[in-house]
C-alpha cells in the first residue's frame, strides 16, 4: 500500500492531527493527518482511496481498541479530530460530486438530554466513513429533526440518549418522524438503551457503538 496512506492510517489511529500537535508524544514533530492528506492529494491519490484506505481503517483500529478498553474517551476523540482535519481537505471533492457521499445522516441527542460525548463520537465516525453528517447538537426537539428532514428527505436519522428519564422521549421523536417520513430509517443509541427498547419504540436499529452505526448505515446504502 502507498506509504502516505499507511502513515495517514497511523495518524488517525493515534490521533495525530497535524505537525504542530504535541499528541501523541511519540510522534511529536512529525506530520499529521492534515499534512498527509494534502500530500496524498498532491501525489494524485484519489480522494476516495484516501477515505477508504486511509481514514476508515484508522478509525476502525482505534474503535476496536476503545471497545477493548485499551484506549479511553480522550484518545478516541483525538482520533476523530484527526479524521475531521483530513476531511476538511476532502470536502471540496464531496461538494463537487467527484467523491460521492454514501448518504446524509442527521444526528442529535434527544430533547431533555445534554450528554454529547457519545453522540459526537458517532457523528465523527459516521462522517469519517463517508457520510454527510448534520449534527443538531443536544436537547434536540422533535420539530428540529422534522425541519431538517424536510430539507434532506432521503437521509437517515440517529438519536442518542444517556438518561433513563430521556430515553422515553425518543419514542415521540421516532413516532412523528415515521408518521411524516415512513421510509426514513431511524437508528438509536446510548448507554441505557438496548435492542428491545429500540424495537418497542419503533426505531429501525439499535447500535451500541459508532462502528455498529456505520455498519448499519453502510448496509442501508447497499439495499
Amino acid at each position: 500500500m502507498n506509504e502516505i496512506i499507511e502513515k495517514l492510517t497511523t495518524c488517525i489511529e493515534f490521533g495525530k492531527i497535524n505537525q504542530k500537535s504535541p499528541f501523541p508524544p511519540s510522534m511529536r514533530g512529525e506530520v499529521g493527518a492534515d499534512e498527509l492528506t494534502r500530500q496524498a492529494l498532491e501525489a494524485g491519490i484519489k480522494p476516495v482511496e484516501i477515505l477508504e484506505q486511509g481514514l476508515i481503517p484508522g478509525m476502525n483500529a482505534v474503535g476496536l481498541k476503545f471497545s477493548q478498553g485499551k484506549v479511553f474517551v480522550p484518545e478516541m476523540l483525538m482520533a476523530a479530530k484527526a479524521m475531521s482535519m483530513a476531511l476538511v481537505h476532502l470536502k471540496p471533492y464531496f461538494m463537487s460530486g467527484e467523491v460521492k457521499r454514501k448518504g446524509t445522516f442527521i444526528i442529535g441527542t434527544v430533547f431533555g438530554d445534554l450528554h454529547d460525548i457519545g453522540k459526537n463520537l458517532v457523528a465523527m465516525t459516521v462522517e469519517g466513513a463517508g457520510w454527510e453528517v448534520i449534527d443538531l447538537g443536544v436537547d434536540v426537539k422533535t420539530e428540529s429533526f422534522l425541519d431538517t428532514l424536510e430539507k434532506y428527505p432521503n437521509c437517515a436519522v440517529g438519536i442518542s440518549a444517556l438518561l433513563t428519564t430521556t430515553m422515553g422521549n425518543m419514542e415521540s421523536v421516532v413516532k412523528l418522524v415515521k408518521e411524516k417520513y415512513p421510509l426514513t430509517k431511524v437508528l438509536v443509541g446510548g448507554a441505557p438503551l438496548n435492542t428491545e427498547f429500540s424495537n418497542k419504540i419503533g426505531a429501525d436499529f439499535y447500535s451500541r457503538d459508532p462502528q455498529g452505526a456505520v455498519a448499519y448505515l453502510n448496509n442501508l446504502q447497499n439495499c
Binding site: F23, G112, T164, P192
Partner: protein
C-alpha cells in the same frame, strides 16, 4: 466523623446512605425549581426524608452539578421539574482562564445550598450531614466544554492545569464553607473523571481532589469522593486523594472494587438510581438491595447507597422498598 466511621466499621448491621434529596419534594409538595433555588426548601426536603426514614445513616444534600459553574458566570437552564444544566461553555480558550474571577462564597446559588447545609446541620436531620460539590475536572469540563476538556488534557495540558487550578481554588473554599456551616463532610462528585485512563485521572483529577481533601478533611469532617464511571482501574488513583470515603456508581461491580480498598476506608455504592430505584418495582428494588448486601456482606466498610443522585419523580413506595429491604436484611 471518625467516630461515625468507626461505629460503621465495628457494627455488622448495615446502615444506608442513599444520595437522596429529590424524593423529598413529594413529601413537602414542592418543585425541583424550588429545591435548587431555595435553601429552606432543600432543608425541608431532607428533613422530611430523615423523619420518614430514621434508618438513614447520613443526610446528603443536593448533587447539583451546575451551581459552581453558575457562580463562575455560566448561563444555566432552569425548568420547573428538571435538574438545572449549564447551557453553554463559559470560555473557549485557555487564554481566557486569566480573566476568570474566582467566585466569592455565597455567589449565585451557592448561598442557597449553604443555607440548606446550615439548617440541616443545626437541626440534626440525621446523625451526619454531607454537603455536595462538583469535582475539579468535571467543573473544568462544565466551563470549557466536556468534550473539549477531554482532548485538552492531551494537546494543551498546561492550559488544562491552569483551569483546574482556578477550579480547585474555588472548590477548596466552597468545601470549607460546608464545613463552617456545620456539615460533617462533603461528597465530591467527579463523574467526568470516570472517562479517563488511570494515569490521566491521576494527573487531571485526583491530584486536585487531594488538594481539597488536604484542605478540609480532619477527624470531624470527612470527604467522600464520588465517581460514577467505569472505575475498576481508577481505584488506586482515587485512594491516593486521601479521601476517607469513596462512592461508586452502578457502572461497576462492587465486588471488583471492595477488595481494592483498605478496610479502614468507607465504600458507598451502588444500586442503579434510574434503572432500579426510579423505574423498578418495589419487588425488584427489594431483590436488588438484598442481593447487593449479600454479595458484599464480608465487607464491614461497605455502606449501601444509590449509585448516584436518586432522580426527581422517584416514587416514595420505591424508597420505602429500599429501606424495608435493608431492615429485613439486618434482621437476618
Amino acid at each position: 466523623m471518625t467516630e461515625w466511621k468507626n461505629s460503621i466499621l465495628a457494627h455488622p448491621e448495615k446502615i444506608a446512605v442513599p444520595v437522596m434529596t429529590y424524593p423529598g419534594l413529594q413529601l413537602i409538595g414542592k418543585s425541583v425549581m424550588d429545591m435548587v433555588t431555595i435553601g429552606e426548601v432543600q432543608y425541608h426536603c431532607v428533613k422530611a426524608l430523615s423523619a420518614k426514614y430514621p434508618a438513614i445513616g447520613a443526610t446528603t444534600l443536593i448533587m447539583d452539578l451546575s451551581v459552581e459553574a453558575e457562580a463562575f458566570g455560566s448561563l444555566i437552564n432552569f425548568s420547573e421539574n428538571e435538574i438545572p444544566t449549564v447551557s453553554k461553555r463559559l470560555i473557549d480558550s485557555f487564554e481566557q482562564v486569566v480573566n476568570l474571577k474566582i467566585p466569592a462564597i455565597g455567589d449565585g446559588r451557592t448561598k442557597s445550598h449553604l443555607t440548606a447545609a446550615r439548617l440541616a446541620a443545626d437541626n440534626n436531620t440525621a446523625l451526619q450531614v454531607f454537603g455536595g460539590i462538583i469535582g475539579p475536572y468535571s467543573l473544568a469540563g462544565r466551563l470549557y466544554d466536556i468534550t473539549e476538556m477531554m482532548t485538552a488534557i492531551l494537546i494543551e495540558p498546561e492550559g488544562a492545569h491552569d483551569l483546574l487550578n482556578i477550579c480547585t481554588s474555588f472548590l477548596k473554599e466552597y468545601a470549607l464553607a460546608f464545613k463552617k456551616a456545620g456539615c460533617n463532610g462533603i461528597v465530591i462528585a467527579e463523574p467526568a473523571a470516570g472517562l479517563l485512563a488511570d494515569y490521566q485521572c491521576e494527573e487531571f483529577s485526583s491530584r486536585y481532589v487531594k488538594q481539597i481533601v488536604d484542605f478540609v478533611q480532619d477527624d470531624n469532617f470527612m470527604v467522600v469522593l464520588h465517581n460514577c464511571g467505569n472505575t475498576v482501574s481508577l481505584v488506586e488513583s482515587m485512594l491516593g486523594t486521601g479521601a476517607a470515603g469513596f462512592h461508586f456508581g452502578n457502572a461497576v461491580d462492587m465486588c471488583e472494587i471492595l477488595p481494592q480498598v483498605p478496610s479502614n476506608r468507607l465504600v458507598f455504592g451502588n444500586l442503579d438510581p434510574a434503572g432500579v430505584i426510579k423505574n423498578g418495582s418495589p419487588e425488584i428494588i427489594k431483590v436488588k438491595t438484598k442481593e447487593l448486601l449479600t454479595r458484599t456482606s464480608q465487607y464491614n466498610n461497605f455502606v449501601i447507597s444509590s449509585g448516584c443522585d436518586i432522580p426527581p419523580g422517584t416514587k416514595i413506595e420505591n424508597i420505602d422498598a429500599f429501606f424495608e429491604a435493608i431492615a429485613e436484611y439486618n434482621k437476618g
